[in-house]
């Protein structure tokens, strides 16, 4: 059965929605002008993805192949509408910022993709784990990207965090660069593309470095093995 460690690695790094699958870029670029917005959107998407994965997995035995796509979309749309209503009621200030993008989670291809590719074929617990990890991977990218743009663009980090998480979290709200006049480009959408580009390059570099190290290690092992063999032969030769 599904191996939770693999699911976790896939969701957060190896098969990350944004950085490997290149999905969900529209909401990503649109809302990440601050880390707080990124966090809010990430949490909303995570909630939708987790619930839709669980719902699809629960119903996987009764959903027939022919109508599966409309059923998935119906389920996802219902969950998104519920999230939208509850955010409007109980996280109103954040909803005012993200409001436009919450209904658009329906069209976030990553959610349908997980339902189709994973949840409809796996047990409920595995599907829940996958939803959680894929959502977490997406959330991390949103927060990192939002943080990058916010620091460079306005010199703050987690501004207005209290709006999202309640007053208890106002300590997150930090001004890193005082008297900073801001760098407009990073706040505008084009800055989102730039920051995303650097993020992708960074991940690619890390992956390549790891691959190189693995290759170097394999090479070293091979040479070590040959050396050991030589020594054995020499030792054997000496005895003879």
């Amino acid at each position: 059965m599904a191996d939770y460690k693999t699911i976790m690695r896939d969701g957060i790094w190896d098969n990350n929605v944004v950085m490997s699958q290149m999905l969900a870029l529209c909401p990503l670029l649109a809302v990440t002008s601050t880390a707080t917005n990124g966090l809010g959107m990430g949490l909303a998407t995570l909630a939708v993805l987790l619930s839709s994965n669980i719902a699809v997995s629960l119903l996987r035995n009764i959903i027939s192949q022919e109508v599966r796509i409309p059923v998935f979309i119906l389920l996802i749309a219902t969950i998104v509408t519920l999230v939208d209503l509850f955010m409007n009621a109980f996280m109103h200030d954040l909803h005012k910022v993200l409001g436009l993008f919450i209904p658009l989670i329906v069209t976030n291809c990553m959610i349908l993709a997980r339902a189709e590719a994973f949840a409809s074929k796996q047990s409920v617990s595995a599907a829940a784990m996958d939803g959680l990890m894929m959502g977490l991977g997406f959330l991390l990218v949103l927060v990192v990207l939002g943080g990058m743009r916010e620091i460079i663009g306005s010199g703050t980090l987690f501004a207005n965090a209290a709006l999202l998480l309640g007053d208890g979290f106002s300590f997150l709200d930090t001004t890193l660069l005082h008297e900073y006049r801001g760098f407009l480009l990073m706040v505008l959408p084009s800055g989102g593309f730039l920051a995303l580009g650097f993020l992708l390059a960074g991940k690619s570099w890390l992956d390549h470095r790891k691959a190189d190290q693995a290759a170097a290690k394999a090479e070293a092992d091979r040479i070590a093995a040959i050396n050991a063999m030589d020594e054995d032969e020499m030792a054997g030769g000496g005895a003879a």
Partner: protein, 219 residues
């Protein structure tokens, strides 16, 4: 399982499944709406109250502005007069002393939503921008949090500033433009001027004390 598979092959199975799922989804939405409707209405009323508070100070009135409204349908530029322009009236000792209402300006990147209040003598009490999409760092000086500019409207009226003066300096008026952004302040000045003219034209209706306070309307 093979039984299930044969059932799934039946042509009637697909619409039935889809219908049942739609029914379940509909039921969920009904519950969700019922659970959040009051809270959402309350939040929206809070929003409105907060923006009204910005232009009508607490000590200026002793009534609930949300319950004392006049809705006019005469056309006002960029506003939805079909839905009506709502005037929230401030009363002190039963006397209507001012009215607050929303006007819309067309800025550099779309609508600028403005709330303004006008005293019964036709002078402006306060103006605030509620929402806009102007360029950060250039056009956003219209926000009270960023710049003092918006406060210069207070006390002005059609009587103490003539038609030419209701414009930014570049156009021969009295209002400062921002360096690098003229379209934004021009739009705000124009919207406020239009609002003021509208108020003056309809002041008899807007200030009519005979129109009673209603029972809770938003809530």
């Amino acid at each position: 399982m093979s039984d299930m598979d044969t059932i799934k092959q039946k042509i009637a199975y697909h619409p039935l499944l889809l219908g049942l799922i739609a029914l379940a989804a509909g039921a969920m939405l009904v519950f969700g709406d019922a659970a959040t409707r009051d809270a959402i209405a309350e939040r929206n009323a809070e929003d409105l109250r907060a923006s009204l508070k910005q232009v009508v100070a607490e000590h200026e009135h002793d009534n609930n502005l949300l319950n004392d409204t006049v809705v006019l349908h005469a056309p006002l530029e960029f506003s939805d007069s079909e839905a009506g322009i709502t005037f929230y009236r401030a009363r002190l000792n039963g006397e209507v002393v001012a009215a607050a209402f929303q006007v819309v300006g067309m800025g550099y990147s779309g609508a600028i939503n403005i709330i303004m209040s006008v005293r019964s003598d036709g002078s402006i009490m306060g103006v605030r921008v509620i929402s806009h999409a102007e360029t950060p760092g250039l056009g956003d000086k219209i926000e009270a949090a960023k710049d003092d500019w918006i406060n210069h409207f207070s006390g002005l009226s059609l009587a103490n500033r003539n038609r030419q003066q209701w414009a930014v300096k570049k156009d021969g008026g009295v209002f400062d433009q921002f360096s690098g952004a003229t379209i934004t302040p021009r739009a705000v000045v124009r919207a406020v001027h239009n609002g003021l003219q509208y108020f003056n034209e309809h002041s008899a209706e807007i200030l009519d004390p005979a129109i009673p306070e209603q029972e809770v309307k938003h809530g």
